[in-house]
Amino acid sequence: MQLMNRILYINLSTGKIWRDEVSAADTLRYLGARGGNARLFWQEARGGIDPLGPDNPLIFGVGTCTGTHAPLSGRTTVTTKSPATNFYLKSNIGGGWGAALRFAGYNHLVVHGASAKPVYLHIAGDSVEIRPADSLWGQDVRETTRRLTLGEEHTEIACIGPAGENLVKMAAIMGSVYNAAGRGGAGAVMGSKKLKAIVASGDQPVRVAEPVRFQELVGQVRRNVAAATPSQQKYLYGTSASVAAINELRALPTKNFQRGYFPEAARITGQYLVEQGYLQRRVACFSCPTACHRYTQVDTGPHAGSYSGGPEYETLAALGAGTGSSDIQAILKGNELCNLYGLDTISTGSVIQFFMECQQRGVLSPEQTGGLNLDWGNAEAMLALIRMIAYRQGPGALLAEGVRHAARVIGRGSEQWAIESKGLEQSRVETRSAKAYALAFAVNPRGPDHLHCQPIAEFGFRPAGVDLIARLTGDAKYANPYTIDKRADIVLWHEDFYAAGDSLGLCSFATTADFTITPELAAGLFSAMVGAEVDADELLRAGRRIVTLEKCLNIREGATRADDRLPWRLMHEESPDRQGAINSPEEVDHMLDEYYALHGWDPRTSWPTDATLRDLVLDDVAVELKRLGRLL
């Protein structure tokens, strides 16, 4: 095997810097970024550590294909223990930072310890330095990036903003200015280490073991992307094109999931951003022909001068429909503020919606509101709260801890409209009318969101998706998001492939959303890359190993079946805009039973059995869980 799979270790407490390599066996077992990170996290961390303490490692993993010209291969995984959930966290970021780390010669970066003073890492090939960052501390993401790129060529920056410095539980790590490893508070972990930024550059070649074969596969993927309507749609309007479609399906979470239809949705769509001239340009991650990312700008009105990357669908839904606002200029301003402060727009919008609903239901005292008018649709309150959350001011100090904590403090029944599970705010997906998504969200180790498994095929939108469902379940009739039947079969395959794709650095739009990269193509790319033959079955099996290890990381933290739930509202209230749409406890339990059975996990505890772990060559994991009394 020819792949160089290098790890750079840095201990910020001691200043020690050292290097190691991933073994050939582990490269084949864990594939790369996400899988490799999970393995490293199992080895480098232990259960019960404080997510914001020096014992929590922060691990970056570059995709095995990242840094090559393989299409849609620029994704990087960030792994740590989440301060939002106290469980395992993997987050994923696009842009160009991962490729830069690869050009510096590294596949993984493991940051241990914590610095006493603000620092940043300067990685330029073999030159690795821990540099003071006192003058950067307090600066926003854009200014931090600007200063660190002055005089540097071909340099990419990953950094935190004020939210990360202030240990806000929904703080993101931002890369290439406007790309975010947003979910779960990895930015707060970076802030707890007093690590402001990581500068990466280098000129190390990324060697491909079988370049001719690799090039043929790249050509095939490019042809698939060019032929795929969804890929073209994402180029034209970005993910924000989904707003109109999802609203039309009565599944656009509105006013904190109280409704599934937003009458003013036409003014917060990707189409509207293009037609009204807010779109400035389309932007691609490293080596991506789709270019779904975009920059927008406001030229008129009270927010004139605002500009930023995005907004994505999730942002428009979280800051727009979710807060009852169609003030697109204010939403663009809110998106910019989140990006500058380094905040996850999903969780930020979610806590703001939660707070507005608290006001709607009369459970807040005047002191708790901070004097804000929290009426639905008040975009200025939304903007004020974003600032307050980033700096932990006024009610922002409470909301910065996340919606679960806020509901516990506010009480008075507010847990029923806290749209979270495991402590993570749910992304803006109406799982009550998408049952495979519901199951996927319930079992996601980091909490309920769409970036662990993307079973869009269940909708039956496209022939390729229907074909896939027929193969997975035995009948095309299961390409139906309204039934709970066969959802476990669908979710397992998507989990496996998503994990494998993440590990190769592939965008999920190419793998589980659009199928422009199939398991066969992904396996071919990996094989040609590393110079060892891995077929599609083996690739998916490696994905299963990764998913199972991630589950075990949560079990090490004490997770049980009781943690695999959905937000209370979604399990107990029907969507008013689609009759019968609910994720009832009975439905969720039924799907969980089938899911655990297919995995070979114990249905009572949700823990993998000894036989399952050993079958996946996770013997050492089995030994440790047995020692902890968490193996049956």
């Binding site: 309507t229 034209l236 390729a464 998706g465 395959w493 659009d514 199928f515 079955d537």
Partner: protein
Amino acid sequence: MSGMESTITIQFMGGGFVPGLPRKLMLDLTEPITIDALAIRLEGILGIVDLRAKLAQHFIIVVNGTTIQHLQGWQTIVAPGARVAVLAPMGGGSGTKGNMSMQAK
């Protein structure tokens, strides 16, 4: 029958795939019609050749909030007063069937 009840609203969202599609169209309708027949009628109204085939290739069609795949497909009946949306999907595969193999187990 009032004015609104005798028309159907057709919204075309997403695009670039079929030049000439309007953003929104109100169509008088005196009796129910299938989506299949509606597409053919739209071909004539909009002057777009092979519109039905293009819709099938690039779009999903939603009638009153539900995709036609989960109704009666192209034989789904559209009644006066209905709302039809023609959406470019954000995922689920390319526009043609069987253009790539799918590993599934």
